[in-house]
Amino acid sequence: MTLQTTSHTFLGMPPFPEAARAALANTQQRRNLAHATATIRGKRALVVGEVERWEELRVAGADAKDEALHHLPHYLEQLEENLTARGATVHWARDAEEANRIVVDLVRATGSDEVVKVKSMATQEIELNEALEAAGISAWETDLAELIVQLGHDRPSHILVPAIHRNRAEIREIFLREMGTVGRAAPEDLTSEPARLAEAARLHLREKFLRARVAVSGANFAIADTGTLVVVESEGNGRMCLTLPQTLISVVGVEKVLPTFADLGTMMQLLPRSSTGERMNPYTSMWTGVHEGDGPQDVHVVLLDNGRSAVLEDELGRQALRCIRCSACLNVCPVYERTGGHAYGSVYPGPIGAVLNPQLRGTSSPIDKSLPYASSLCGACFEACPVRIDIPALLVDLRTKVVDEASGRSPEAASMRATAWMFGDHRRLEAAQRASTLAGRLLGGRSLRSIPGLGAWTQARDVPNPPRETFRQWWARTHGDDEEAGS
């Protein structure tokens, strides 16, 4: 059997501005992204608009996640107890390596050399596929977009639609070229019509579903008070994986826990509408341990930390753990729309990635140092977030961490200190303004095209000329020096 080679890792990514420059030059990708994000934005706006009490739902969603996060040890122990009582085996993994080892061992114990996979961010994050491949186990991604990414030897660029950067023509090419190398080939007369492409995926994957003995999934929610795991999906590949194999291994980030089953009344309204812009996604599976005579009889849950406990420590930053991976923030982000997801150097791209990655991984690498700055702070993400994560505030907070870690040694820090000193007293500001108005008078009506040191600004933008008179000079001239000398 051929081993699938999946995504290249994100190690050694350049900082965001550099990666973004390359992405911006890819006009095909920009067209694909602009089209796709505009489509989903429109759909989301429509179905969110239908819900009169949307703001109340957002607050309830944030509260439910906060309740779980604030008392995470309590709810995890409750979850474990209920899962165990219902026949599941619970494992704990401190980091990616430990989680991968647990999964590899569990698969080996079944004697199977392949697993079918439900799309899962947690397993992407820990690079489980690579670990399975290293152990001689094929991991078949079964979500259509994940399949496109895997067959294309590509990397995911979106949380919900990892192949959002590909259009139908590119997908057809990938299917024709690659499907036959790992299983049932695509029909020779395959067109780029989405329905035909979906049909090709159905045929290609069906043989894998029918013979699979082991499945690996994540979970959208893990309900503490019942031990129920929830997977929200569209295609039915999730149901196939969660139902047909004998063994099911679910890798679940510790932040996925929800206190009670009743919280689903909130979450099942927030997630589909925010995510795919549907009133409800086609399929949601809920299972509670082992169901006798129905579905997998060997059920495992791997509870994963991998940096989450460190994120939880930060009083402000911990709200990022509320994230339910809906990707609404990506779809509304003007930066993401133009750069795509690869520039973020992680399986978590977009605004949530810009806050989550530096928190999960720390800010030592160039990419993680640059991510908090990969935003114009326009606030569209916060507005769209169904669990009210204040992403702009978190970005600003992370920027202070990046600056603090640099200990003031950069030229930028020196210039910031100098400017702050100038603003520290209005007389210093006024002195600086005299230099600026002098320049304004010297320039007269001529416009500035380039100023040394301002190249990044002037490559596409003219610089405004400084005025001949500042506001406070005008005020002193017309209203007098005394602040109380109004008209």
Binding site: R53, H74, L210, T226, E235, M268, T284, S285, D305
Partner: protein
């Protein structure tokens, strides 16, 4: 220290600033739309189910068999799977139709793949979203039965339809396996355009009985 102990200890340290007790937020708020009346709820349900391109038939209890037969004929199904708990009258009219009725005698996935359609009851319907929830009781069968065959004919009684999502959640037994179905299998993975029909049943017929 075991991984379990270490993670729990890290999480305790991380939340040391929290002074509230678990459950301090009180009851989970129920945020949903109240039913304006049973008939409006039912109409909304039918409308939203149809919106996902599932076919919707409304009929009286004594007409279920005909509705099921009609759905099977539309989809040109030849082999129908019937879970044991399904009302016998629903498949009665099929006796001389040429459609073969099979029972679940521990069918394998491969055997299920050779079956065209399945007919089941359901547990609850949600009007605002057009969702049907199965709890896989005897009249619905184990999960694979409503997954592998390409057509699912799902019968729901009018009194099983609730108005909004929280109403449904309150009625469900989490100890059972649950499958929420909103229209046929679909994907938005190609340019974010919705396409019906991937791995789950590509044809969903919903029969509302009142």
């Amino acid at each position: 220290m075991s991984a379990r102990e270490e993670i729990l200890s890290r999480l305790r340290t991380a939340t040391a600033d929290i002074i509230t007790q678990p459950g301090a937020r009180g009851e989970v708020p129920v945020i949903g739309v109240a039913s304006p009346g049973p008939e409006q709820t039912l109409e909304l349900f039918a409308e939203n189910v149809a919106d996902y391109r599932a076919s919707v038939t409304r009929c009286r209890p004594d007409e279920v068999g005909q509705a099921v037969a009609a759905a099977l004929v539309r989809a040109r199904a030849h082999v129908l799977l019937v879970p044991d708990g399904v009302d016998a009258t629903w498949v009665e009219p099929l006796r001389d139709s040429g459609i073969r009725v099979v029972r679940d005698e521990g069918l394998t996935a491969d055997q299920l793949d050779g079956i065209d359609a399945v007919v089941t009851a359901s547990r609850v319907g949600i009007a605002t979203t057009g969702t049907i929830v199965l709890d896989h009781a005897d009249d619905q069968g184990r999960r694979a039965l409503t997954l592998v065959p390409d057509q699912h004919v799902c019968v729901i009684r009018a009194d099983q339809v609730v108005h909004d999502v929280p109403d449904a959640v309150a009625m469900l037994d989490p100890v059972r396996a649950l499958t929420w179905i909103s229209g046929p299998s679909a994907t938005s993975d190609i340019e974010l355009d919705r396409v019906e029909g991937v791995h789950g049943p590509r044809t969903l017929d919903v029969v509302i009985v009142s």
